[in-house]
Symmetry: C2
Subunit: 212 residues, 2 copies
């Protein structure tokens, strides 16, 4: 089960979808699947699936396919979902509160430990069972709880300054919902920019070009 040194970005980006589909099949009580069956369900080619899965060590069995639980836990491990990482949410507006309530962080090996907002009217309120704290408390909080992840649900204008401060406190990763493009601003800091607007533009394109 020797892993390849580095898996290409195209493969990595497909892993979450594999993980979801395989999890679903397990829920349905399935225990094994062939690359051909999985390909049909996911609208991929069997060849691609075999190539992808082989990037992290062959554990299919010629003649009888892949073990779903084995695949699931292995992909989860590669994605780092077996860890235990603390997260803080910055910005308790509509989007921030929705994220706090809606996401099942535990499923991803994470725990939302604190919610912060600079609006004093919000501090003290409780969201997802967590009391909103004032931004002035954040440095102290990070030093004490050392969360690795900051979820940015703040306006573009304050994102840059806020992110710099968080990095200096020791934050290692950003899940960035602000419209400020953090890509490649820091070294050794993981960033996922979520641009819901981009997704909506692609939908718009899809409508404008449907039937072509």
């Amino acid at each position: 089960m020797a892993k390849k040194e580095d898996i290409s970005a195209s493969v990595i980006k497909r892993l979450p979808r594999y993980y979801r589909f395989i999890g679903e099949l397990i829920k349905q009580g399935k225990t094994r699947i062939s690359s051909a069956d999985l390909a049909a369900q996911m609208s991929l080619t069997a060849s691609q699936i075999r190539q992808d899965l082989n990037c992290f060590g062959g554990f299919g069995q010629p003649g009888c396919g892949y073990s779903l639980p084995e695949l699931h836990s292995e992909i989860g491990r590669i994605l780092g979902l077996d860890g235990h990482r603390g997260a803080v949410l910055i910005g308790a507006g509509n989007l921030g509160r929705a994220i706090a309530i809606h996401m099942d962080f535990e499923k991803f090996g994470m725990e939302l430990k604190g919610i912060f907002d600079c609006d004093e009217n919000k501090t003290g309120l409780t969201v997802a069972g967590i009391r909103i704290l004032p931004m002035t408390d954040i440095e102290k909080f990070i030093v004490r709880e050392h969360p690795e992840i900051a979820i940015l649900c703040i306006p573009k204008e304050s994102a840059e300054k806020c992110a710099d401060m968080l990095v200096s406190c020791g934050i290692k990763a950003f899940w960035n919902f602000s419209h400020y493009d953090l890509t490649a601003r820091y070294k050794d800091i993981a960033v996922e920019n979520v641009h819901l607007g981009d997704s909506l533009m692609l939908l718009s394109y899809g409508i404008a070009n449907s039937g072509k």
Copy 2:
């Protein structure tokens, strides 16, 4: 300014990001930019930018770069943002309400026309200036207002049935936040699946493999 017949999916997926960056530069008062400058700002190569922009007709000027307003409106046009499309939101839970309030639909040539929820305790409440209606009213509403887009913020379990019903009413596009994978379920229906969990898994991978 002759457009190529079909622009490749890789190029299309970059358009929203171009659109955002160019919009930002215009806000800063810039009117022209060279492919080299834009490449530096967006962490791309100048060559790729020239290739991409040429897919929809060359309007750069050798010697003095591209006109930003021209680029912006042209990319917007290609993405279909110059249209006027109606949208309905299905599911007024935390996520649905956050989307309704947070997204500036007008910026994308869209208008949120109705919000629906099957929970009777919610009907009558107002979100983003729109009264929540009961799901039983939706068919009537779609026939009257003919929105093209349905935003699905409902649980996985009800997504399949709900989507089928909406398609039969005439909905042409789904912005799908449910965890049900709508990809390739319908013909001639545009779908954008938003899986926030996938993004969080990629962040997790990024942390687990930072410094590699």
